[in-house]
Assembly symmetry: C2
Homo-oligomer: 568 residues x 2
């Protein structure tokens, strides 16, 4: 590509409204332009990256035998009503009515449509298993679209769906797909982790996420030091500590704590570490009565774990102050388990605790020396909290560290949630109707472009992994206006390198060297060749890899350059 | 591709609700499946064709230096209000509001968005000309979606937009793009015509359409026998006849014509050909008064020509009966130009007519021997009618024939309609602000799949042009279950032909020959090889081209097969 004909539009200024580096660099490099909140156009530069991502994803899907197809973006409400998600999706789903007043949405995902599609054609076990995928524009009406493509409203996904006669075959294909995701991310050369995940609104039994590691990542990942365990912090498990509970060292004692309503304030007031206190959180139970959740003072509640507890309302609903006063006789800052008949569920970390500081159910008062069994019956213990760095890994070996990641892929074993809701069944070998098991597998095609930048950049701009770089190589001429030899050498290199399979950009815009170097670094071209009269005389050209500290010399020879750019 | 793993889903039954052959065959071949009115999913089979079309279109766009980009499907209402099209597009545009109650549409086209995009980056003449294109899903909420993909609501377009400093440069790029469209259609091997077109709602000065010829085509095309003229019948011009008007042969005479309200009835009643009568059509004028349009009895009004007349309301609005009675004193079947002060505009074909039969402005009466100049002042003559087969070509050579076509491409010179409305300007060499000229160029990526089938099919199914066929070749084994030699020969051929660059399908589904042959013909694979024990013994395999009457023999040799499939 000749850059004079490429409509490159870089800027030096960092846009004021771009909070994260990928958003800033995509705007500065001119890869995207904002149309409206959460809506971006891809420029020709951005499109080259997007197409390379798409082609890698397509190749790896094809390689595992997934079949590419394409479903409509606009989907009728009826299908979503059948699955029960028309209401459940809430305002995240962009809805509309057509000229005949029929209701539709802009599909945020396609479980309903693919199940309906399969239902029309698949009758027999002989037609299964089958895995379909599409690469398509989705829309999610985020309440706060931000971070450019990271949380855009319109975005491009690869979504795949598989159908199976039984759970074992689903598991086989799930592993296949997991392997394809590894292959995609390995080809892109990104540092990533696969973590156990919560299945959320999509439903289903088992799911894992693929995260590109980056400091700006919105997700926290708990990864064990020995590599044997990795989970999104939402799903990361804690274990009930072994060992024995220490015996009480004193009687339950009420202490006045006027104005103390936080754990930090309480610990300071009592002169104990936060870990010696227990916090009480009141949520609504399915019976209509509240449920008291207790955690160690320095731990944080994991809402997903809490709402998954039997008897607890999902999504998790905090009790309001009036309810708390009715059941505890005190306000939220002073409540505890003593003298209340509310069900208590305590986090595993409190199972071996003794002599705890807890709220006294009197405003402005706490108890010390609270002990299970003596001051309150033994409660139900459960995994209620978020893991912390340094926690023991639930696999029993190693400890957990917390990494930040950007979710770019999510693989699910859905089971029969959608096939059952949409009444899909096929005949098995004996002629019995069987409801197929389903898997679904999402990959963020546009998001990974931003994720790659978050992981791969420096002060000068983007440092693309070569597999998804807009160009492999840029040729920069020095004083081309004054040297026919430089112009001719550039033209020849450009033509011959293209013919050799190098994706080459030729900066023929007639700019000074400074702006050409700056643009090449900003847009992140992995390899750079500088052509000058001096270089031509010596037979050596100046070469610099995007990550290199210094430039070096390379023979003025297409085969030599190709070897450096494309390998061996 | 092994067909056992391809989820092929053909049916023998012609779907009852599919009216045209492409819709029937796409459903029967299992290329598409209906989701809702005008919404279709593309199966893996359909997707292979769609991708081949996309790749040809992309290659030809890239070849003329157009830059691929991608704009959002969802567009904010404000931009459409700036161009004045938010109201003008009416119910054809699918509209929605987001969670913040802001208005959007699902873009049916992208003139507004691309103009806004260019406005953000382009400041100087040095950045022009530039041509952008995208391949994208569009939505038009057709009042009556039908004919499958031919008039679907959601469909895939290639839309391109160019920006220029002056009209001459726009014209240069317009010709470029026109050339690319020829290249695309030539590569697809389709029989097509380029015709002059009306620019319609898009606006602008000059436009042409590319039509794939097919008997089922919705458009009529007027094409001169010498090839010098071609136009959509909407835009095809008629010329004012040369020669002199014959002198009147009798006085204006009123004849009772009770119950006669049609031209056919009038001609029969009077014993004259329809061409000796003149019909009167009353439309509303911009002044608020009606305008009388007159045509030869056997001619039909071209509404687009009529609404483009100065003084006539656009879109064309017929006068209601009350208005007609007020101004003519009679009902629509009996009106004419005599004794009314309404403005009269007559078609060119009446310029040399004399002794016409016209309505008398009395219910149930007509005049004979009506003559211009004597019975009514000379009116304005204009081109008001649709051309007919056999008409003289407006270029002065040859006569017109009427063909039927399916519009697959439309190229427009827009001028400054959108750049002016959206306030786009760039500085020229002298530092003066110039409003750029724009072109826009649409190509129906999904529609051409249906159009190709309309042109290329027979009783057994689709006969794809090879460039867009789902596979180049299918290998069909005979009695594979009983012959290891057949299975091995097929596997070897499959592997080697793939390696040789042939897009090959191997029908390993274990069916009887009849269903395999029927499927291969239905889905339209251009080349077929049959592998049987007898063939293997003789060293000759059975070969049949999709259009061949009879099969023939071919050497059992990859090079020989490749030569037939991909050409010498």
């Amino acid at each position: 590509m000749r850059l004079s004909a490429f409509a490159l539009a870089t800027t030096k200024e960092t846009p004021a409204d771009a909070e994260i580096v990928s958003h800033q660099l995509m705007l500065r490099a001119g890869m995207i332009r904002r149309l409206a909140a959460g809506l971006y156009s891809w420029s020709p530069l951005g499109m080259r990256v997007l197409r390379k991502v798409e082609n890698i994803v397509r190749a790896e899907m094809d390689a595992i035998g997934a079949l590419e197809m394409l479903m409509p973006a606009i989907q009728p409400a009826e299908l979503w009503r059948e699955s029960g998600r028309w209401d459940a999706m809430g305002p995240l789903m962009l809805r509309m009515t057509d000229r005949a007043e029929r209701e539709y949405c802009f599909g945020p995902t396609h479980e309903e449509v693919i199940t309906d599609y399969v239902k029309r054609d698949v009758r027999s076990y002989k037609q299964l298993p089958v895995t379909y995928y599409q690469i398509q524009t989705k829309f999610r009406d985020e309440i706060r679209p931000r971070f450019g493509l990271m949380r855009a409203r319109e975005f491009i996904m690869k979504d795949a769906y598989s159908f199976h006669m039984d759970a074992a075959d689903l598991d086989r294909e799930y592993r296949n797909m997991r392997g394809a995701y590894h292959a995609i991310l390995d080809r892109m050369g990104l540092d990533y982790r696969v973590v156990a995940a919560d299945s959320g609104d999509i439903g289903g039994a088992k799911s894992e996420e693929f995260h590109v590691l980056a400091l700006s990542g919105e997700d926290e990942l708990a990864v064990s030091t020995d590599g044997a365990y990795a989970a999104n912090i939402e799903a990361a498990k804690t274990v009930r500590p072994e060992g024995e509970r220490a015996a009480p060292t004193g009687e339950l004692k009420k202490i006045e704590t006027p104005g103390v309503t936080t754990i930090a304030g309480l610990a300071e007031h009592m002169g104990v570490p936060e870990s010696a206190t227990a916090k009480s959180i009141v949520v609504m139970g399915e019976s209509g009565d509240p449920v008291l959740l207790m955690l160690r003072g320095d731990h944080s509640l994991n809402e997903i774990k809490a709402q998954d507890l039997e008897g607890v309302v999902s999504p998790l609903t905090m009790a309001d102050e009036a309810t708390i006063r009715t059941h505890f006789g005190a306000g939220p800052g002073s409540i505890g388990p003593v003298n209340t008949n509310v069900t208590v569920i305590a986090d595993y970390a409190l199972a071996n605790a003794s002599d705890m500081v807890v709220g006294a159910n009197y405003d402005g008062a706490h108890f010390t020396h609270f002990n299970w069994g003596r001051d309150h019956p033994e409660p139900q213990f459960a995994d209620l909290r978020n893991v912390n760095a340094g926690d023991a890994s639930p696999t029993g070996t190693g400890t957990l560290e917390i990494l930040r990641g950007i979710e770019v892929g999510h693989v699910f074993q859905l089971g029969d949630k959608y096939s059952r809701a949409l009444d899909l069944s096929v005949l098995d070998e004996s002629g019995n109707a069987v409801v197929p098991e389903m898997g679904c597998y999402g990959f963020g095609v546009s998001r990974i472009v931003a994720a790659a930048i978050e992981q791969c950049h420096d002060d000068a701009g983007i440092c693309w992994p070569q597999a998804i770089a807009p160009f492999d190589l840029v040729i920069i001429p020095i004083k081309a206006d004054k040297s026919a030899a430089v112009r001719e050498a550039c033209e020849t290199l450009y033509t011959e390198l293209k013919a050799a399979g190098v994706d080459v950009a030729y900066d023929d815009r007639g700019l000074r060297p400074g702006p050409m170097f700056a643009d090449a670094e900003l847009i992140g071209v992995p390899h750079r060749i500088v052509v000058s009269d001096r270089g031509l005389e010596s037979g050596k050209l100046e070469y610099k890899g995007r990550r290199d500290e210094q430039s070096s010399e390379i023979d003025h020879d297409v085969a030599a350059i190709k070897a450096v750019v494309l390998g061996g």
